[in-house]
Point group: D2
Chain length 366, copies 4
């Protein structure tokens, strides 16, 4: 079975294959009277767009989005006001090189979903990885641009914190840096190391994994739907749905397993507006599945892409042993472009929970 919708009250449904005519999404549940511009969406897409540096895939996609429904025009061109009806976004695919994939029409690339899609469906659009390609994530990023508008004051930002085993130095964390290098790296020094490192990876036709951290600020306290719609459960589900993700953490994550109760729990002292001040944020902004009002901090691990130049043992659709290597245009580190995608997923989850608690209609907006 397939399930291509995410969210309950703020729900996105995506469609489209990597080499199909287009990709798109329908956003259901945007409250009415939310103002946004085409530029808002395009800006997010541009952060994800391939072909922007030599460290990401060389496929050139303009990724120009169109808004097809759910809005009334604003005052200027490209300005929109949501009506509360479903918003359809769409991007034409313009730079498919299907022949790049013809070699693997019937071969299974190890580490890719080729084999599992064939096992499950008995048929697959192999071109460009079809539906299993990360191309689909462009629509999540587009939807995330609107999700960000649903919660007043919400700011969701992402950063790469590790490539391979080269981690940033948190003491040098500067959000402004993430816009100054091709890696969304908040630590300028580490960005330089990564550049050099990835040049080597790319030239070898190899690939490497990465870890991304997403921080959401301005999250109202009290969001989350215990027991099975916990805020962190939904964030985990959303991040795990991104291509090539193999691990999720909230707050201290796996490191919390090695902490004592005294060291891990975030102490409190009197605060304002009925909320305490927290002396730390090991919890990552979520306690008992509900937001505390502190920054929500999540991390996810992206495995290295399996689209590499090294021949690997595999099988073909007829069950014969074959070697597979992937030519064509690929990311040496797919984790880089996952940063805006992770931001979008977290934004969508928070928007969804905001509406579930506050209602879609009774939501104050600018």
């Amino acid at each position: 079975m397939s399930h291509n919708s995410f969210g309950h009250l703020f729900r996105i449904t995506t469609w489209g294959e990597s080499h199909g005519v287009a990709i798109g999404c329908t956003i259901d549940g945007t409250p009415p009277n939310i103002r946004f511009t085409l530029a808002d969406i395009q800006a997010e897409l541009d952060r994800r767009r391939p072909g922007q540096s030599r460290y990401t895939t060389q496929r050139q996609e303009a990724d120009q989005v169109r808004v097809l429904s759910g809005v009334m025009p604003g005052e200027a061109e490209g300005e929109y006001i949501s009506t509360g009806t479903p918003i359809a976004l769409q991007i034409e695919n313009t730079d498919q090189r299907s022949k790049d994939y013809s070699d693997i029409a019937r071969r299974y690339r190890p580490g890719h979903a080729d084999v599992t899609y064939d096992v499950k469906y008995g048929i697959r659009d192999y071109r460009g990885g079809g539906r299993s390609s990360a191309r689909e994530t462009a629509m999540r990023v587009a939807a995330g641009a609107i999700a960000r508008k649903v919660v007043p004051g919400l700011v969701v930002r992402g950063a790469l914190v590790a490539i391979g085993d080269i981690w940033i130095d948190r003491a040098r964390w500067d959000w402004a840096e993430t816009a100054n290098n091709p890696f969304f790296c908040p630590d300028a020094k580490t960005a330089t190391r990564w550049a050099e490192y990835l040049d080597g990876v790319r030239k070898r036709g190899s690939s490497i994994g990465a870890v991304i951290e997403i921080v959401a600020e301005g999250v109202p306290a009290g969001l989350g739907a215990p027991i099975y719609g916990k805020l962190d459960s939904d964030i985990a589900s959303g991040l795990m749905s991104i291509n090539a993700v193999k691990g999720i953490e909230i707050g201290k994550g796996f490191a919390a397993a090695a902490l004592s109760g005294e060291d891990n729990a975030d102490e409190m002292r009197p605060g304002e507006n009925g909320l305490p001040d927290y002396l730390s944020n090991h919890a990552g902004g979520v306690l008992g599945g509900i937001s505390t009002g502190q920054p929500v901090v999540a991390r996810f691990a992206v495995k290295p892409t399996s689209s590499i130049l090294t021949p690997r043992q595999s099988v073909d659709a007829d069950g014969n042993a074959v070697d597979v290597m992937t030519k064509g245009r690929h990311d040496p580190c797919v984790g880089i472009r996952a940063v805006p995608v992770g931001e979008a997923m977290v934004a969508c989850v928070i928007a969804d929970h905001y509406l579930r608690d506050r209602g879609q209609i009774g939501v104050p907006r600018s």
Copy 2:
């Protein structure tokens, strides 16, 4: 908002507070003609039951489950045959010591959901942690006993792999060992180290975290619902919903971020029955969100409980600064009892996806 149901076609809905009259769950979607016994369920519950060793909470709960609907009687007492209608399971709470919690009726224990429940709901059953207590997980374990019956040949087992920073030696992994020590530890030597270590933690009135690994075997290939109902997304969501969980991994998890594409991707060679043989399982049994047929391997990290004897800075419901320490009966390592809970969540997810692909009625059963 609250959301207390998990799953789509195999769906469990739980209810009940830690110190309420009872706890229960409704299992909707069990295919008809599945045979199970009260002993099947009780056996799973007994693995989770508190008061079994000095390393777990001393609350004595008989945790005797009753089946109230959804079955016809089998031949012997305690034997049941599912009818396809909802199965209600229920456990009476017998050993609540509500006065143990009277100190914290209006105090927020750091690291617990006390404060977030109050922020969200404005009212909470503080007794024993109310709905946020891990008592609720008993019902998941009960439901998991039935989930295991849905997929012929499915075996789901869990083991503790780390307490604090003391990890097992994987080379000595022996599933049979997990039944020989109070820790579900598959490595006898490490179990001994943990016993000594935890004695110290317990005596200090402190707590420590843990990492649990769940392995599901006999998972048919092809299960999972891309893009947003991926098998690993649902597993991540289910495991993250367990109390005190802060991290989830599938396969290599975060370690995959430090691997190259050559090292991470699982090579294949010709196999049987239309499926390849895999030369490794770094993927953890899931590729593109769909099961490969290999063991599904997931890990989750449990933070240390915040119910400790050390006084900690906090606030009360009136916003005053207070110190909070928790007396009463607590787990020095709540991760231990989470093992059967993790197994149950994974079993429920796999059962759900099995039915989504194969249908609830056309499912072959023993």
Copy 3:
């Protein structure tokens, strides 16, 4: 497949067979701080309870409900305050006469779900009709008592408007009358006719159908989730889910098909509070799937029960021709007891939509 939950944010999940140990429901999504009493629920159940007159089934069920979770105690015994966590309600079955049904263990009563349950599930609890019995509706009525509390000012009332082809005289409609006769009839004169008529039906061992009208007042304008969660769609789904229902109408219903546009549309004139006054209510309180603020008026038709004394041609589970007649205790007109059930379903739908628009937490309450 089975699906035993109804609603999105205010969601009820029921379980239990007619002759099982008990029946119950879980109500998920009740906002916190809603006050209710056991008597509130019991009062609704008592309106539905069998054995109250010679016109309804003679099964004697005390139908005493228990609240098992989701509440803190109020000041007096039987008073509760919702915590926002799931509320479990339960009723023990005390008066099953399973041997009354032993004749039909393997026979299919025409017009009943016996045959379809066997076709679908391959196994059924035949005792008392098992899960397909109207016994399940007691839990809906219980849940409806709480649903009514969710929307401030909501009043949902039902009345029988026809038994067989004997319709009430709408000109004599008096809600107070519905409590004065065994039929929920708002027209005293017609109630007398029905009494005489049904005596004949009952003595003949026959049965007859009925039409019930539900009117909800105090419904805020603007509720409903176009296009597929329209208020009237959800009401239709909820009413159609009641046993033996074969038709649903909103407002003028089928009569609207014979009206001209001039005669059917409800004209408006200026009103108060941003809402118009309507000069009529042919729409039944719903326009475009959204409530207008006028009374929501729905009707449903209940077919005659097929549990009658006349032998009818049928087959048994082995495919042999048999005659079936049902002895035991039955309703000559099952529609009578459906009145509180219809009220409950409409109340649940309105509560659900109220929360979907206003949010479960930001809901003003008494």
Copy 4:
């Protein structure tokens, strides 16, 4: 709140306003390897298309559908094979005459959703009725073309059975006739009466309602998800979601209320393949919410459109009293074009339940 998805495993999500750029839908859950052609979809759309006769709206829409995803190309142009991934369908709007609606930008047409959309959302696309227009139903019809392919042997047909109070003569029912007149009328004689009658209605600038009957044959027995996902509940919900619908019936519908148990229940005698033969079909193919294997028969009542030339009392968005009459292009009987829409909804429901019981992957296909 808005909710624009319908179905569980076979789920359609629609978007688009009457005068927006385009309208579209995403079909999630189509099993893989289903073959269909553009002509299959176009044929269904052409049955619904406006401007086909003087009895339906004169808006000229080519309604040419495009398939944008979810398929691999078949052998010939316009032939497709589903891959199991979401299928996006889209139709450009080409003949919007927005100025036709400028008069009512701030006026509320009685009987239309103008006022309720403004109350709910505070903003609406008034052009052509925006999202509340029946234009959206084109996408349901397109999706229905694919739904029909999911269940082997399924045939879903609709017919108009009444316009105003002029009913067909069932004794003359001939499905072939429905293609010979502009009314989907199965009774040639009545079609002639309707032509004459509607000419008068149209010339008067008035409108009239209608009743449509949908018959689904080849429905496997055993489909439906009791208690709250009953086949007839989902059909009722789907039909009620169609614009202007005010009543739903299954089988005998409201007439069943006037029948005795002896007359209403469908007797059975031994049949084949484990299913009985039924001596009648008053149940309309559904018993206890589950299909019997007999034709599923549903009817729905469509109210007269309120877009008429007669001035009616109303208010405007500022609360002033105004008269409203609608010029522009309208249907004197919107029920006519609802026939293919009703067929599509029933097809979608049956496809959904087929997959819920048989699984999306284990479905035999041609």
